[in-house]
């Protein structure tokens, strides 16, 4: 059995670690709340963009753009870009491990040389580089997502796509469903699938309505105008292509910003639960160790008493002998 001193040292060490994990837990929970707030702030913008794209597709179904899957002037022979969002730091449970596994699984069936990883976050980059996957020269982080960074990332990716260097852009990131569960999402970002926008027209219409519900209709007697939102002549300035181009840029930047924020929220969430269980575990260990310590201490005391008693008895006997 370990000595009392050893156990005491161990207890002290665990207490120090617990301080750290507890602090990290607090920090993560604050960061996660911030990320959640950011996510909520960006949602109306994103839904409005989606709605505008579907509106343009609705009015100009024959539009031919390289940003759509069925566009005639897009280069189908370019590389496939896979944007992977991981974190810069560890201590987040299985968060990074899961996303790396998913990324590896994703490219399993692809021909070598037909794809390239665009890593956001240092851990993912190092892991994939170590495993010998093709990594694009692309250094960004997911920590503290900013509008500016999303725009820079978008500009790099969309310009490469525009030049035909890339034929497809996919995003892999982690989305937290609730505080307990998060899932890995695969999303094809470019080219856009027109049917995705058209098919969801009904639900997006509903979204649009909810977005504009609180606006007052100042045109009187226009009650049924709500039911057919896109009626009448559709005037677009300067031309549909220009507007669509603008929309795609905004859409991609908005989407990247959204996923950056989503990934950060999941990362902090994972770190939070990892740190929570670490703190709980430390508490359990402390409880066990303090029992052990008390036992060792008690044993030492008992032994001492036995020794003293035995010594006293021996002395007594020796005295009796001397008297006799």
């Amino acid at each position: 059995m370990a000595s009392a001193k050893e156990i005491q040292d161990r207890i002290r060490g665990i207490k120090d670690t617990r301080k750290i994990t507890r602090a990290m837990y607090m920090i993560s929970s604050i960061k996660m709340q911030k990320a959640r707030q950011k996510l909520a702030d960006t949602e109306p913008y994103f839904f409005a963009l989606q709605d505008q794209i579907s509106s343009i597709l609705y009015h100009f179904p024959e539009i031919d753009s390289r940003y759509f899957e069925n566009g005639t002037n897009r280069n189908p022979n370019g590389k496939k870009a896979i944007v992977v969002m991981s974190s810069d730091k560890g201590m987040a449970g299985a968060y990074n491990h899961n996303i790396m596994k998913a990324a590896e699984d994703y490219v399993k069936d692809f021909e070598p040389g037909s794809y390239e990883f665009y890593c956001i976050g240092e851990l993912g980059r190092q892991y994939l580089k170590f495993r010998g996957f093709p990594i694009a020269d692309f250094e960004f982080t997911a920590t503290n997502p900013s509008v500016h960074r999303a725009r820079v990332i978008m500009e790099i990716l969309v310009n490469k796509y525009h030049d035909g260097e890339l034929s497809e852009i996919d995003v892999i990131y982690t989305r937290s469903v609730n505080s307990m569960k998060s899932v890995i999402e695969y999303h094809p970002l470019l080219p856009l699938r027109p049917h995705e926008f058209i098919k969801n027209d009904a639900s997006e219409d509903a979204q649009y309505k909810s977005l504009t519900r609180d606006m007052n209709y100042s045109v009187e007697g226009d009650q049924d105008a709500v039911s057919n939102l896109y009626s009448g002549d559709f005037f677009i300035w300067p031309n549909p292509h220009h507007v669509l181009h603008q929309l795609v840029y905004n859409y991609v930047a908005g989407y990247i910003y959204g996923t950056l924020v989503e990934a950060t929220a999941s990362e902090e969430n994972a770190r939070m639960s990892a740190m929570k269980s670490a703190t709980d575990n430390a508490e359990k260990m402390l409880a066990e160790l303090s029992t052990q310590y008390n036992r060792v201490r008690q044993a030492a005391i008992t032994q001492e008493i036995t020794e003293i008693a035995a010594g006293a008895q021996a002395l007594k006997r020796a005295k009796k002998k001397a008297v006799r």
Partner: protein, 138 residues
């Protein structure tokens, strides 16, 4: 004055949501103004200064917007831009730095892609500085 409903959405917030009398924004070929009862329209916005007037104030509200679009539909105007900043939110020092950086990069640009990126950065920095200078002086 007759008003319409204006909603300005940007990537990180809802910039404005409420009644508006007139709205001025930079279109592809110059400024465009929208008043109440404007015809249905969708137009794209360039980087520059946007202004709008609300009924509760005589002052124009100003913002620097980046690329986006405006949709007008039955007196509801939806303006979607990647970002919008009020003059007082612009950090002039930072904008100046960004301007210099963009100018420097434009000189030794390597590719046509970088050229476009830098030009957009330059336009943004210039628009910010212009608006910030104009409204801070008052």
């Amino acid at each position: 004055m007759k008003t319409f409903e204006l909603k300005v959405l940007t990537c990180d917030r809802t910039f404005y949501d409420g009644p508006c009398e007139k709205l001025l924004f930079p279109a592809t070929d110059g400024q465009m103004e929208i008043l109440a009862d404007h015809e249905q329209m969708t137009a794209s916005i360039e980087i520059g200064e946007m202004k709008f007037k609300t009924p509760d104030s005589d002052e124009w509200q100003v913002a620097v917007v980046s690329k986006g679009l405006v949709e007008v539909d039955r007196n509801q105007v939806l303006l979607i831009a990647f970002s919008a900043e009020r003059p007082e939110e612009i950090d002039e020092f930072r904008a100046q730095e960004a301007l210099e950086r963009a100018q420097e990069k434009l000189i030794n640009q390597k590719s046509i892609v970088e050229y476009h990126v830098n030009q957009a950065n330059l336009a943004r920095a210039l628009a910010r500085l212009k608006t910030a200078g104009k409204y801070k002086a008052k």
